[in-house]
Symmetry: C2
Subunit: 206 residues, 2 copies
DNA sequence: GCTAAACGATACAGATCGGTTTATTTCTGT
DNA sequence: ACAGAAATAAACCGATCTGTATCGTTTAGC
């Protein structure tokens, strides 16, 4: 196993355990045992446990956003539909039996100080996801793309929080229905099966 | 300090620390130091740390639901408006500088096993809150009260999750606007300032 | 094939964890 | 006032925590 592979393997192992048990409950000894690596090796790649957490979050951040982008873009090119398809992506996450909630929400929940680097890393991820929604809402030519993106984002967070407790995929579908309803009220043509397609300059409502 | 007062004081202290630092990060030694109590005393009232956590969650569960009920009922008697006023209640929570997210979500995030008593206690709280929304949605005579309640609930969870990260009160107002929009589309008279009041048998939409 | 870096294994450090024990003092109810 | 219960402080337990140090062995690049 090459050096970079070990690092990757450690990050993947750590992420799996953080997701399964949480950050404080996952000890270094468990991580190295599961990764099949000596403690010296871990500490050669990461100075502290916090560094490992931060690196793991950074990796998952990129991976999660890339995966969502890919999922969305290969399903539809209409920006409004893309906003809705993000909920289908959520549903695939919820259907994974390893799903235990959003690791960034959990990270923020275990490191509540806003000055904590882990908290800040979690916030950064959420900001980048929101930026993606804004990108889509802008492309969809909504009158207030930032507001629309924030609404989609809030529905995402709600679905994730509910699914964390119920451990079902239903919250994703429910959030999608709510998003459909809200977007339809915004642009009159948000619903996929709506009248004409490709409408520009959707009207605002409030 | 009487016996029951000590127990209460311990629960309040523990809740404050759990909210501030999380469950794993809050040690027994810190709790007794902050409570100004000997370790023996704590262990006379609670067998284990888990018992303390469970008792604390149970207490906050009742307190939180009572407080919300009170807040809502003294502001309006219209069931539809009551559903919307729950978001004003959320806003008061977010405005508290000690707000660090929902302690039940955090509890579930640190005890992810669905068989864990702490996880189950968190789920129970969320179920009882949902039951309250169902009660209100039923009183409002929506065609599908359970669905409406689940939607309100999802908006609540979304607002809480977003506010946990942003540490602002805005998510509560945003969720309220979304709820207003959704309820208006359900019954045609959901908006407080809508045409006639006291309408019964609101129509369904989908 | 040599050198140097990176690896694994293990022991260890010092702190902290949840929880127990002991011995002493302070309440509280009758 | 007196007995019993419950409070206190402090030492202590074994386990676990993050992180370091030691020391061979393996591996990779020149």
């Amino acid at each position: 196993m090459r050096r970079s592979e070990i690092r990757d393997h450690l990050l993947e192992t750590a992420l799996r355990l953080f997701n399964q048990y949480g950050y404080h409950a996952t000890g270094i000894d468990l991580i190295i045992a599961e990764a099949g690596v000596a403690k010296t090796t871990l500490y050669r790649h990461f100075d502290t446990k916090e560094d490992l957490i931060l690196a793991a979050l950074e990796r998952r951040d990129e991976e999660a956003r890339d995966t969502m982008r890919e999922f969305v873009e290969q399903r539809t090119s209409d920006p409004v539909e893309r906003l809705l398809v993000t909920f289908d992506f959520l549903e695939t996450l919820f259907r994974d039996e390893r799903f235990r909630g959003c690791i960034f929400v959990s990270a923020a929940g275990e490191h509540k100080d806003t000055a904590d680097p882990v908290f800040r890393a979690a916030v950064l991820h959420k900001r980048l996801v929101l930026a993606y929604f804004e990108e889509l809402a802008h492309a969809a030519r909504f009158a207030e793309p930032k507001r629309i993106a924030a609404e989609i984002n809030l529905l995402h967070e709600g679905a994730i929080a509910v699914a964390q407790m119920t451990r079902t995929a239903e919250p994703a579908r429910q959030a999608k229905r709510m998003a459909t309803q809200l977007l339809a009220a915004e642009g009159q043509a948000a619903a996929p099966s709506a009248r004409r397609e490709g409408a520009s300059h959707r009207a605002q409502v409030s």
